[in-house]
Symmetry: D2
Subunit: 360 residues, 4 copies
Amino acid sequence: MAGNTIGTLFKVTTFGESHGEALGCIVDGVPPNMALCEEDLQIDLDRRRPNGSRYTTARREEDKVQILSGVFEGKTTGTSIGLLIKNSDQRSQDYDQIKDRFRPNHADYTYQHKYGIRDYRGGGRASARETAMRVAAGAIAKKYLKEQFGIKVNAFLSQMGSIKVAPQYTANLEKMDWQQVNNNPFFCPDEKAIPQFDELIRNLKKEGNSIGAKITVIAENVPVGLGEPVFDRLDADLAHALMSINAVKGVEIGDGFDVIEQTGTQHRDEITPQGFKSNHAGGILGGISSGQPIIAHIALKPTSSIAISGDTVDINNQAVEIVTKGRHDPCVGIRAVPIAEAMMAIVLLDHLLRFKAQCK
Amino acid sequence: MAGNTIGTLFKVTTFGESHGEALGCIVDGVPPNMALCEEDLQIDLDRRRPNGSRYTTARREEDKVQILSGVFEGKTTGTSIGLLIKNSDQRSQDYDQIKDRFRPNHADYTYQHKYGIRDYRGGGRASARETAMRVAAGAIAKKYLKEQFGIKVNAFLSQMGSIKVAPQYTANLEKMDWQQVNNNPFFCPDEKAIPQFDELIRNLKKEGNSIGAKITVIAENVPVGLGEPVFDRLDADLAHALMSINAVKGVEIGDGFDVIEQTGTQHRDEITPQGFKSNHAGGILGGISSGQPIIAHIALKPTSSIAISGDTVDINNQAVEIVTKGRHDPCVGIRAVPIAEAMMAIVLLDHLLRFKAQCK
Amino acid sequence: MAGNTIGTLFKVTTFGESHGEALGCIVDGVPPNMALCEEDLQIDLDRRRPNGSRYTTARREEDKVQILSGVFEGKTTGTSIGLLIKNSDQRSQDYDQIKDRFRPNHADYTYQHKYGIRDYRGGGRASARETAMRVAAGAIAKKYLKEQFGIKVNAFLSQMGSIKVAPQYTANLEKMDWQQVNNNPFFCPDEKAIPQFDELIRNLKKEGNSIGAKITVIAENVPVGLGEPVFDRLDADLAHALMSINAVKGVEIGDGFDVIEQTGTQHRDEITPQGFKSNHAGGILGGISSGQPIIAHIALKPTSSIAISGDTVDINNQAVEIVTKGRHDPCVGIRAVPIAEAMMAIVLLDHLLRFKAQCK
Amino acid sequence: MAGNTIGTLFKVTTFGESHGEALGCIVDGVPPNMALCEEDLQIDLDRRRPNGSRYTTARREEDKVQILSGVFEGKTTGTSIGLLIKNSDQRSQDYDQIKDRFRPNHADYTYQHKYGIRDYRGGGRASARETAMRVAAGAIAKKYLKEQFGIKVNAFLSQMGSIKVAPQYTANLEKMDWQQVNNNPFFCPDEKAIPQFDELIRNLKKEGNSIGAKITVIAENVPVGLGEPVFDRLDADLAHALMSINAVKGVEIGDGFDVIEQTGTQHRDEITPQGFKSNHAGGILGGISSGQPIIAHIALKPTSSIAISGDTVDINNQAVEIVTKGRHDPCVGIRAVPIAEAMMAIVLLDHLLRFKAQCK
């Protein structure tokens, strides 16, 4: 119980079900005197929002966020900030058929067994809709990081199915063209990959199937010193935050699983008076930021809700078949790009504040 | 600051530097009336300990653990348990040459910049020696999980460099021969892989280099219901705990990064009245245990301390070369097997207690 | 920063300023399958609400609470519960004159110096209006405690100024007539004291002054075993929760400050096979509930906002005089009765859940 | 479970039973580069220690503290500090007779019922001996507060039984002669009260009885801004920390329970350009330090262990009589003076670090 809070000094607590009255969030620990308005949050919420394009769900949500406290005359006051997004366009009737049966790969089975009750409408609390509040809270963190420290947090879709962004785009992340990333619905830096992604999604839609994806998240201008060993290491807290995103099954820092086959001489980032020669470490050494860009990768499983019939059981453990109707993204990875940015920003701000506490 | 505690109800706090007086740990939240003695902890400490074999460091440490509180007449009392391991065999003079220069891939650089001071002897707090206390605390968790719930946590070395354990050993983890895993210095279930690992380590020793590794951790008999969405999800907390282990750069739950190329029909674990048909999810759905085995994989970078000269800077940012002397494992992944078990056990017990709080 | 959360397993996080858009709260850790509706919370909110009587402020607030999540088809689901109360009847213009000057005894001075900015309207976040959400959250805790464990939490006004409730009413708290307490605007068990309280308040209103008060809080049917020494003792956590209520300057458990003059033989509650002979300890021994009623007393300072001119400084540290206008209770202690109940209930439920985690 | 940690950024975790192997503590969050040695801690430990005088217990403990980590070449490194005090002079046989019966006013009853087992020797974990580690950790906090911020934390015995320190000593706490306080075994600023305390203790010893006491704690030079409303208010956290001390039954901030009879005009501390005119608030407004001295009072119950026979039950709920033998202080309040200082210092440093995190 009580698992809906993240952070120590910058603390985010959320509530809300997919088809409930509203989603909400309390963002506690925002430093005072930062200019903040709803539009600052709306930008990222709109990036996460299903945009009516054929790539994502047809569900139309306004995701209009309200700031209810903690801001006075356009500035943060240092007190807790209450955020609210009212739910609209809820076609709950779509979900009547899953009331009594567990969709494979979904949280239906575990929520029912854990709590003995579940809000089955749209996945209830387990719906990715919950992540809207993460994006809103993350937008506050991103704004503070950028304005006060010049820290920029960005992410892009680096792979969908077997289609990868071309190596030249990922070889030097510091030269990434973020405008290009954000002007296409796939958050893709590689123009040539876009039509391939497009075709893959079309085909999956036709067959009613879904696909996994990989996202890369980068934070630039992070000062050396963030992270509190041995348990609240920066990498450990990032792994926690990123793995807490719906559908994420893997987290890498820097070279991640590639390190298995690396030798010590290949992996170590040698140092010169001008800086590190390479960044295999992903900007974190010993759990503390090194001053290099922080780089993380996450793997997202294919959307659970698919239109191809599968075997499952009902609430009485009787064998049944299930086809998930409703409006669903064939690839949840796409919309997870701003969510991944948000979670990294939340962790970085929390650690930045903890680091400031230590400084003279 | 204050990052040396993990857990909510089962709480582990540690201290100790590689070449300080002692390592210590406070294990808080151990349920009362469990039989416990030092030997229960020593078993796992001995598994982690450099054993004098040619595969690991030549340093000889007794790692003899003392229980200083919380146990009365052989049983836990419910109060906090103090653990202590005195350091011995400290050849601090080995480290004089790194006093003023930063070993690449090490935490020297970040500790110095974060704190403005560092205990450079043997890596100080950033040394893997710190993990001895994790293993001791984890042994308590493992004992309780096993005795009270039949939950068994085990790990094995699944890959070193490009050498992988043969697929038949990993295809059905529930049939793993753990006795075989634990009777060889590589924690390897595949007899044929052992001589290959052996040869790889010999060659690396010769050239003074090191190599990465992959470890697989499995928990069996975990009941459905552990995990507290949306942030204290079981997978998120496991990712945190496993990524907090020295040298870990990646964490996967279930199929991990393989999910990127999977379709929804491939990935979803269909359900029958007899149980799940497969376990791509790694035993966790929606952040909650499903009753299937929990499966995680971690990637460990090659040992940072190598005998091949590399470029770095000294404390005045002057270019220097460095060769790490001292006694070091060519593959830290080997000794990390019991550490990974410990961290998974710590997280599972914490969540088990949180789950019990919810139950009637 | 980030001080707006209380609790470990039953966790309450709040936001909201006196004259902002709304007050809100996230209640996390409510066990599933408890019947819950808005009316359950409204009962206590109405007890706290200024009721238009001459004893409390003339401000009319509906304090209508909405449940936005965590309840499905009338039952709690185990997920976080979002609560919202919209602010109405905000006469912010009343506060223009205090924009630039610090009301003595208020938080104006400290908020301004801490944050460099403050929402001065009605005291902003420091207003007692914030406590509405505590009462709402506490009502959930009270309901669960009562239904699942028969634990009843009640409070009454035991003193206002020098007027005390007659000794016969406080000698045996277990025989208190709670119906009598709740059917008068002073939460007073002593019918004869009511007209005296009434007269005191009338006189204070006339002169524009205010008065302190004492509240006694009792929890009955609390099982033995709640409290987690040595820091999360039940008495320590109660002291924290009760002292966190606006205007509270003192907290006592059991005999409280009277123990200073007691001898060991006077104070100790001897035990017989039928139970304790007395309850000087207030139901807590060694930080753990003893099975006897939990008894606490709190002292509340006189209302800070008074109509008698006083000396202060403005934001530029210039000497000015101030008279607080607006609608204010002459005795904040009265309305604090349901707040004190709420805080005790929140702590008890948190500890009850922690205790359950320990049990087999 | 897991109640042995206090603090957010400055975190203290303790272990140890009265008659176990050792007491220990992990102090996490000590800023780096502070000079620190064992003698710094020993000074306060010696103030707490039974000194062989007739005023306190005849038990002789060396209470020799060891620093096991976190300090390198005489300076703190920013990593967790492990502290250890070995127990000696344990006459456990003294306690055999209480093995099966519950001493009234003690924690015997509640520990046995909570955990189903208890280390009965000397009260086990519930013994005031546990507070030695608080004093050691508090000494670190005091040193940092004093050296870095000029904050001084001191306490004195203000009342024992009905004997109070004369008013002139408490009227202006900022002029207190701390040298006088610390050069007598009663921590008493009033020379005339000392022989009265002395006589009271002698008489109590003769009759085998005990007495309560009151301690006043003051922190000077505390900057404005410490405290994180609405729950982690400075007063609330002080109440928590002070109430967590063994035998404490009441906590007051500033005028405490006297506020009940005060009017608004009496209580409010008016402000002038030169500062506050008075300090009824005890240096805290709205949960945030005001820049005035922080003042708190605590009430300590009479020692539980007395030599006068009393009624109780044994572990089988059979009526028995009990006389507590062993070596016990007739007034636990005396030795609690340095403990109270320690707890206030721990809270202040924690909040100072949290405040620094907020600052630019």
